[in-house]
Subunit: 353 residues, 2 copies
């Protein structure tokens, strides 16, 4: 007899809370950094031509069609590309694979709020390094003994871009650790660290189809790095789930990434709307660090962020707010269409007057 | 400066090796227990009606449409259903959630060969309990101190069904552990332990769309248990990846499980072909434990399994073979269509003569 309570053996965790996904329509949804434009029209063709009888078969465990399309887009070998169920899956596998040490993993105190959750669930020690008062990273914070380093560039939820020189300085100072640059938002105007992966085998760059490629629903993320890093990640992935990507995901993703013209056009529309939005927000009395992403992290000179958040929600405009030290007077506002942003500014005028 | 090699911090693992997915056609594929029939025709309608513009949005993190459809099918509450990316994802999350103890997890020595891989990747101690010479489980092996118990019913790759009384005996003897019954193959004629989940809060039943529901490609698995178990699993899931299921997966899965008539009809065809195949295999000089699944675990009286495996592969007929102690003279043969099985038997006649 094995007595006691099964609950004693449960891994108890405090999960990540994703941004709200309201289930009713007529909402202006600027809370999860989704792309306001649909994906490339080529994905419709994929669904039309797909033979549903093939669903009975397991998918390609290597997701080769998708991996090859990503490799071709970035001019790397397929063996340098890892794909997963959104960049969250990719990052989770990377945490498990590379941060397997008793030394603490380092990341900023203000950053993507999933990092500490993965560290907790996988029992990885970590230290959060404070950003400075301009929400910037101090590279010297990342030159101590550590079990790994991760930060987004541009950072979330601030939108700040760090220079490639600074990133190289950190990567070069840490041959004993893998450094992960989470580039979920890089396509909106920041410089990618991909060029450095040739030079530094401890650098992993992670990107996603969820933002610039309008496919948050299809759950496609990828990592690019040297072949050894990718091999280690695949070993862990194949120790968890052999088949993570459905054929529809593989085929839609490959079709999407091949439509470069559409990608450039929609990304340009978003960055134009972002620059316009910066002007309008400044006129309304907001300040914000300069954003190179598809969101703006804004604070109002007189009205508390929490009040604006609630007032916008009453008007069915969703933005993101964290009641968390250092950022509890900021709103993260995703860049929608020009029309959506004008509705937001109209609402803000009413709220702030 | 953080010196040394980043490779010292890597989690090194020996991954699971899935059955071969040949990339050329004209193959008779009886090696991964796929369903020979396409999924319910209702999934085609889902793809036709899906609005691709919605791919830009994150999916429902709770996959409610799918969870509710599964709950309705089994007459349980939605809060008793957990869904994941195939039953491999569900089982992986269950290992991480429930087997969080220094005591060893128990499972048979001959069983689904992913169990020890999950235990290794998550650093969970385990003991493999030998099946008896008829490939049956001895319930007394599972009454010692342990950190959890898992086995499939019917077992893989043997196809043997254990009785509900025996399962209840094990569950009742282990209030200190979660007992997971992996029912990937249960729909082909075995009795499910679902009825026991009402009575025992430490029992989790896992099933899949990959076999009886013809959707291996869509990667849908689910667990049913009491609300506390499911809540703990969701906490871990939301600590790894908020959004694991695409809208296409959610909608196709829900449409598929609602087509009960199609499900019953195709499952019946497979079990009929299985019974026919048992007769034919016996005539050819094979012996096998009685299978309640969609495969037969067969050994020939005179010709070694490895030889038959290679000879079949040369004829583009794929079955599964493990070069592993105790089972290295067996082949696991998935039940295909009647026509596919007749081609197999024709080939075997040639090989064995």
């Amino acid at each position: 007899m094995n007595t006691g309570s099964w609950e004693n053996n449960v891994r108890k965790v405090v999960p990540y809370v994703p941004g709200e996904q309201p289930k009713f329509s007529n909402v202006i949804k600027l809370n999860t950094n989704e792309n306001p434009y649909p994906p490339s029209p080529s994905v419709r063709k994929v669904l039309d031509e797909y033979n549903c009888a093939d669903m009975r078969l397991y998918p390609d465990p290597d997701a080769s069609v998708l991996v090859n399309a990503i490799a071709e887009r970035y001019g790397v070998k397929s063996s340098q590309v890892f794909v997963g169920v959104g960049s969250d899956d990719v990052l989770s596998v990377a945490f498990l694979t590379f941060f397997n040490s008793d030394k603490p993993v380092l990341f900023p105190d203000i950053t993507y709020s999933f990092y500490d959750v993965w560290a907790d669930v996988y029992r990885i020690p970590y230290i959060q390094k404070p950003l400075d008062s301009d929400f910037r990273i101090n590279p010297d914070d990342y030159k101590c003994e550590n079990g790994g380093i991760i930060f987004p560039n541009p950072n979330a939820p601030t939108g700040c871009e760090e220079s490639l020189e600074m990133i190289e300085d950190i990567v070069k100072s840490n041959p004993g650790s893998v450094v992960i640059i989470d580039e979920a938002y890089v396509d909106f105007g920041a410089e990618s660290a991909l060029s450095l992966t040739e030079k530094y085998e401890n650098l992993l760059v992670v990107q996603t189809f969820s933002k610039s490629r309008s496919m948050a629903g299809m759950r496609i993320g990828y990592a690019i790095g040297n072949e050894k890093l990718i091999k280690y990640m695949n070993d862990v992935k194949f120790s968890i789930n052999s088949y993570t990507m459905t054929p529809l995901t593989i085929l839609c993703g490959a079709a999407g990434i091949k439509d470069e013209e559409y990608f450039v056009r929609t990304v340009n529309k978003i960055t134009e709307t972002r620059e316009y939005s910066k002007k309008r927000l400044a006129e309304l009395g907001f300040t914000f660090p300069d954003s190179k992403s598809n969101f703006i992290f804004a604070s109002h000179k007189s009205v508390p962020a929490s009040e604006i958040f609630t007032a916008l929600k009453e008007r069915k405009i969703y933005v993101r707010y964290w009641n968390k030290e250092k950022i509890n007077n900021h709103l993260r506002i995703s860049v929608g269409t020009r029309e959506e942003m004008d509705e937001l500014f109209g609402a803000l005028e009413g709220i702030l007057k």
